[in-house]
């Protein structure tokens, strides 16, 4: 079967699966939209509905404590028919968003940047998977499917991140900048991905063109696209200002992400920490947590200068664990993205314990949440313990992937060391 047919079959079956779940269980999306594991206060579909309701009645949704999402989502969703009465249109939008994301992932895999970039070529490149397999890993990832059904707005951020990465990997700088600026505007954390993606884009462009890559070239490239990126974000903010005619959305949207006023449980580490935090230390630890999350970006970008795509993947992993409002959708994106690095899987050491701890959390998390919130036979520590294990499992996978990629890199330098015991000094 040729690739196009495979792709059509894959995309068709993924869309059919989602639409089947949407239509066969009409109450399932609303149940999932209420799950704290899938929707967070900054992405929840129910809150989007509330914002939309207020927006359509000319009440500012940002003058309230319910809607903490982007202003541009409001006109987009008010074009669609009412999601309560005609849910199909909204469902189709989310299915299409997933398919577009999967298409971008296929393009990334097709370029082969994961195994061989401008400055680095893996010795295990023959192990790479076909792009259809990687896209299937994304489209049939249960975390991604559930997230699509729960319809949080983070789905659009994920699609835009994948699009931005695929554009950067193919050297289409303008669309890459646009997609990433839009993603950062929606969720703030994609800002972290800008430096590695810029490197990826630069590598892609300079390996495509015959011109010499010099320091001055790199510098002008960086300055041009950085300013373009921030100009796009400023333009989006101005557009939002024009739509809502007040700057209150900055407060309601971005400060809500930064200062974590909403302590609704999620799978991350922040909510319980700041529930139990002493008031006088709250500001200090908020600073520490943000600094901690930011610290990975420069470190990974410098160490993996030759493999910028892996930096993007690792940063997605960091975000899925250390972001203020993570959901399982972020973890699903990270795990599916990791599928592009199939060639380093044999080098990973703790795959089995880490994956089993994730499975354990997937099953026990909802159960313990039920015990705490509904049955009343457990307390908050039950769910908190599960989020700790979940974060630990993802951290182990992340650290293990970094180890494997480093080892792979080292084996290019020392081909004789393949399969031998190593030590780090």
């Amino acid at each position: 079967m040729d690739v196009d047919k495979q792709k059509a079959l894959l995309f068709g079956s993924a869309a059919a699966l989602r639409l089947l779940l949407f239509t066969a269980f009409p109450s399932l999306p609303d149940v999932l939209a209420g799950r704290v594991e899938l929707s967070t206060p900054v992405t929840s579909f129910k809150r989007l509905q509330e914002g939309l309701f207020l927006y359509n009645r000319n009440v500012s949704p940002f003058d309230g404590g319910t809607y903490h999402q982007s202003p541009l989502l409001l006109p987009l969703f008010s074009l669609l028919p009412n999601a309560q009465r005609y849910p199909l249109a909204t469902s189709l939008l989310y299915v299409v968003a997933d398919l577009v994301g999967a298409d971008a992932l296929m393009k990334i895999a097709d370029t082969g940047v994961a195994v061989s970039s401008r400055l680095f070529t893996s010795s295990r490149r023959e192990l790479r998977r076909s792009s259809t397999t990687i896209a299937a890993g994304y489209l049939f990832n249960p975390f991604i499917v559930l997230t699509c059904l729960a319809r949080p707005t983070s789905v659009f951020t994920h699609t835009l991140i994948l699009q931005a990465t695929s554009r950067a990997a193919t050297g289409q700088s303008i669309t890459f900048i646009l997609a990433l600026a839009l993603a950062s505007y929606l969720s703030l954390y994609p800002l972290l991905l800008f430096p590695p993606l810029l490197i990826l884009c630069y590598d892609a462009q300079s390996s495509a063109k015959p011109i010499q890559s010099t320091t001055s070239n790199a510098l002008t490239f960086t300055i041009r696209y950085t300013s373009l990126f921030f100009a796009t974000i400023v333009a989006l903010l101005l557009l939002s200002y024009g739509l809502t005619s007040s700057w209150s959305f900055l407060n309601a949207h971005y400060l809500h992400i930064i200062l974590l006023p909403s302590l609704t449980p999620n799978v991350g580490l922040w909510w319980y920490f700041f529930t139990e935090m002493f008031d006088s230390f709250r500001a200090f630890f908020l600073g520490v947590f943000w600094l901690h999350m930011f610290a990975y970006m420069p470190a990974l970008s410098i160490r993996f200068r030759t493999q910028p795509l892996f930096v993007v993947c690792a940063l997605l992993g960091v975000v899925s664990v250390y972001a203020p409002y993570p959901a399982v959708g972020e973890a699903g994106l990270f795990l599916s993205f990791l599928g592009a690095f199939r060639h380093v899987f044999p080098l990973m050491r703790y795959t089995f314990p880490a994956v089993s701890s994730l499975l354990y959390c997937t099953l026990l998390g909802p159960a313990f949440y039920h015990l705490w919130v509904y049955a009343g036979s457990g307390n908050a520590n039950f769910f908190y313990a599960i989020t700790l294990v979940w974060s630990l499992g993802l951290t182990v996978i992340l650290a293990d992937a970094i180890y494997a990629v480093l080892r792979d890199e080292w084996e290019v330098e020392r081909p004789d060391m393949r399969g031998k015991e190593v030590r780090r000094v």
Partner: protein
Amino acid sequence: MFFSFLLCLFFTSLAYGSDYRERLLLRPLPHGALLASFNFQSNASSTSFEQQNFRYFPRSLGQILQHTHTKELHLRFSLGRWDAEAWGARPWNGAREGGTGVELWAWVEAASDKEANARWLTLTNALSGLFCASLNFIDSTRTIRPVMTFEPEGSHPPNALGNLHLLHGNLPHEVVCTENLTPFLKLLPCKGKAGISSLFDGHKLFDASWQTMAIDVRPVCTGDGSECVLEMEQTVDMVLDIERSKRPRDNPIPRPAPIEDIRCDESKFYNSHDSCMPLAKSTEPAWSLQDVFGRQISGACPLSDANDAERVICVNAVPERTFEIRSGAAQRVAEQVAPDMRCTALPSGPEEGLDFDLLFSDQPLTPPVNLTRPRLHAFRSMTGHGQERGGIEAVLRNPLSQPVSLVYMESLPWFMKPYLHTLNVAVSGNGNRDFQALKETYYRPAVDRERGTHIELLLEIPASSTLTLSYDFDKAILRYTEYPPDANRGFDVAPAVIRLLPNAADIASTSADERQKGVYLRTTDLLLPLPTPDFSMPYNVIILTSTVMALGFGSIFNLLVRRFVAADEVEGATLRARIAGLKERFRSKLQSIWARHSGKGEKDQ
């Protein structure tokens, strides 16, 4: 100057001779309940008020009102629930009652919203001190500015209305108790020593099935607005369970009556010497003021208006229900002022003895007084289960054969986040499915830790129909320091306030004053359980979360900053190599010691 002042004083006292009056209405209700409705009214002319010349108007409250520029004030302390099914319409049409806990609303004169908020803050803090209540906890999260529900009761000059700000706050969690009654009594001219206020005993008052204390201050002007007085009305309404109130204070535990006193239903097949189905009571219980309130009235308040003395105490019961008046040594007979209303005066001088009591005897059941039916029944409850989200359902039933328009107001705490898009208003009954009951909506969403939600709905219910109003909400999880000590009890949500708008028939039948006061009813308050964290382990959480973060940071940065080498390239890396190295070092050490030793020996030789 002084002469003109005296003259002015003379005229005002002439114009407003009735500066203080008090009333007590007793209405026996079905099932052995008794409504006692106390009302005290004192006036101060606005000129004397402005000159801080207080006579009956309490100085403590007057100075607070002046300092905070409060033009009209309504303060309520309430507990219990009015059972409209059994007790009929509310006293004063609900205009003198509040929601459970404390409710306060006032018109404050200020040039801007900011100034109004500052004055409101001063007002709540000052009243908090005056009434020994936690009114100072009415902060911005519990304050709203109602738009449709309340209208000023007093007559304010039309040019001042633009600067008047209405602020409303409530404290549903506040437990109203004796410490609030003492300051309330101190505001009265006779301070509970004489007059009907001598009946107030905290033990009985707060033991009532339903109780509300109200303080209302409003300016009242004559028709042309030339002369104004500041009227202060203090009201106490309560429904007492007569049986319960008659229990002696030193032995308040209810005990079963001796078996000889119980009349059994002998038609029951199981009736025997040791099993009994008590018959329903066929007599009205005997009671006196002494029994029910624990005290007698000690004479009339000498400061009250003499013209009004004949109608101080009124009993609203059918004429068949007889009672005896014991007023010192003198004989008194109640005056029949209306078919169902008998009134009497209080003894005013020491010559006839001051003690006053009403004695109701045990007598066969009389037909109950014709209770006015309420114009609306309202119930509000929470739906759903669990501590994550829930719903509110309010059922408003219109029993009358004409439509009723009303304003429904809710003031919700910020941690209860309603979804207005789920608001559903449905009318059932009379086949009007498509009836648009919701006419207008005012909605101000909550902001976390800054202000609460404010919803006002203008609704219309068709004749003999039921309106069901529902919406969903989410519960927020709070910081652990924001929970009260009894966190698992839940949080109180203030009652909904419902104002019935007058229809054409009412406007014809009621007086202007009643219209100005309005017709209100309030639902009961709700208990909102929130998810709670574990309060015992902030340190554990900080340590465990930090450990996970340190583990991630440590392992990733450890990988990033180190480089790989082959195991066999490192010296002393493997265990065997390390043991070999140790052996080698040991051997060389021994050799060097041996060499030194032997060298020494050679030297010695």
